[in-house]
Symmetry: C3
Amino acid sequence: MSRTPADLLRASRDALATVRTSAPLVQCITNSVVVNTTANALLALGAAPAMVDIPEEAGGFAAAASGLLVNLGTPGAEHRAAMRAAVAGATDAGTPWVLDPVAVGTLPVRTELAATLCAAGPDVVRGNASEILAVAGAGTGGRGVDATDDAESAAATAAALARRTGGVVAVSGPVDVITDGRDTVRVRNGHPHLTRMTGGGCALGAVIAAFAATGPDRLASTVAAVLTYTVAAELAADHANGPGSFAPAFLDALSTVDGAALESRAVLA
Amino acid sequence: MSRTPADLLRASRDALATVRTSAPLVQCITNSVVVNTTANALLALGAAPAMVDIPEEAGGFAAAASGLLVNLGTPGAEHRAAMRAAVAGATDAGTPWVLDPVAVGTLPVRTELAATLCAAGPDVVRGNASEILAVAGAGTGGRGVDATDDAESAAATAAALARRTGGVVAVSGPVDVITDGRDTVRVRNGHPHLTRMTGGGCALGAVIAAFAATGPDRLASTVAAVLTYTVAAELAADHANGPGSFAPAFLDALSTVDGAALESRAVLA
Amino acid sequence: MSRTPADLLRASRDALATVRTSAPLVQCITNSVVVNTTANALLALGAAPAMVDIPEEAGGFAAAASGLLVNLGTPGAEHRAAMRAAVAGATDAGTPWVLDPVAVGTLPVRTELAATLCAAGPDVVRGNASEILAVAGAGTGGRGVDATDDAESAAATAAALARRTGGVVAVSGPVDVITDGRDTVRVRNGHPHLTRMTGGGCALGAVIAAFAATGPDRLASTVAAVLTYTVAAELAADHANGPGSFAPAFLDALSTVDGAALESRAVLA
């Protein structure tokens, strides 16, 4: 691998510090279920969320934002138009953007939309294994938002998808797989509570967009986002009695997680 | 009553165990206020939420889902079309579905929609007394989502409504009344904090849909859902300092409540 | 000033007591990010939230509600029509209403809508300094929901805006500035966690609408709302480890904050 785990850990510490000091403005067009959790995760991290999600405003805002998340979870007609406008605005302006193809595969509207948006070259595609396989045309999707495949099983497909988009693909699971089509990194941090908290995956897409604003190395910034997020989950789990109390503890942890915590807990390969 | 409280308690324990092991996939078309809480309640319980709520996708998904919730809280035009499509898909496929007629009575759009959907034969109608009276044509509704009548006052009307829909009607209140038009069961569990947490009633509708997937006895599955939910509320109240801390504690409790807790706390009649 | 701080503190205690006993029905047409938090804040306080937000229902409901909040955070087309209907209904019926011009300035749809709604004479306009300057035509807005100006810098502009609308303007910040164009009051309570919790500002708009239902003195009712809200934030901060645990603690505090707490903590000038 051209970047060693030690390189990536150092870059992650730097990226986290940059997020905290630069407060990147992250536009999110995301689903109704997780929009609050997503905004809170960004705020806790020190980023600035802006859910500018109507067609008339989304494109202009994307041109000025530090990063953009497009999440297909509840893709109503107005949101779909806003997504297209935002992606066009981001592309024109060079704003990094993240595509989260929630539950693509058999659901027709989002599956077609994901294909269109993928062709526009997202800087990062984030999903679970079923979603990544479906976006890549190699699977039929899970049942709704469930991951019915594990991340490792999608690693080769993810790498091929990354070569096609020209960006990075992040596959979420007990082990996260992140690839730019050349190098593939595995992050073995996290906690099962993340899967029992609505938005546990979706908010990560926004965090990836925040970190994408810290520099041009997309693989490194995505690894940094995933590492920060999953280490925060580990820190939070110590203060949780279940999935309900995990959620506020996770936001607390996102607000305090630092380079030292990454250093002591990272399991990168 | 053809089913004794002891029968219903035993069936509730079985249904809860089945939900935990089968992870029913519950489609929710619900209001923007409670959508996050609803998804989290299902996840905590061990079910799989899927908020597939656009017209182009809702019908096909409902045919494959384990259960469906249609909640009229914020019935925008696109949601209304999705609800009709989902109910049609559920009906064709035999997917059990729950109608929550939030704030019907004087508000024109949802009141007319509730009447239409009721005529389609929901497996369960869940609401507070004012809403059930209004759906049945025997009241004018409360003021918004308030219950201005208690559940007992709606018991006879609920039974008549159940005979009309051919399903079950669940009236929420300090005492919950659940009827299939022949047998009427009262659940005297719960905690006032549930009424101070947004979604305390609405998420129950989704939980009823999850339990409806466990078997064909609709009265028993609805009692099981209400009992599980209200016993979890009692467990959570011990860890809450108010309505804010109750919410995460309630999700924690939903994730751990088991047959033994139902056994020791159930007050069924 | 025609009302002394002591007068305003006494009026605040009375208004809070009235909210608790009268449970004002507050209609909210608000953004998707904060709608849950807003409903929970109202419930915790003892008010009754009703998110009646579709055009066909919003006007009639506003005529019967105790207060109305119109928040421009995610102004989709259907919401925009509902806002216009609700403001018309509120105006006809004399229902007090609050405008929260989220992120106005450069975003075209909401900026034009804010101007239109402002011309309809909101009882209260609440925003951060950037938003108030933008609504008044004296600034270009912040970047999204950030306040890039402090409240004091907007005090004179806010007073002029209040004279123009004939209502009250509340500028949120570390020090809150509340003015009816004649008297200007400063509330030096609150906690930084409020700015790290999504909806920390937006939910205040709904609370201001709840307090507006307690009597005709709009300056006094708005000061009472801001004071109650910010004192609750101080009480909550003692139970928080970060922005995540602050949120439930804040709802707990809103449910218990009372006249004695206002008396002992208020810093009014």
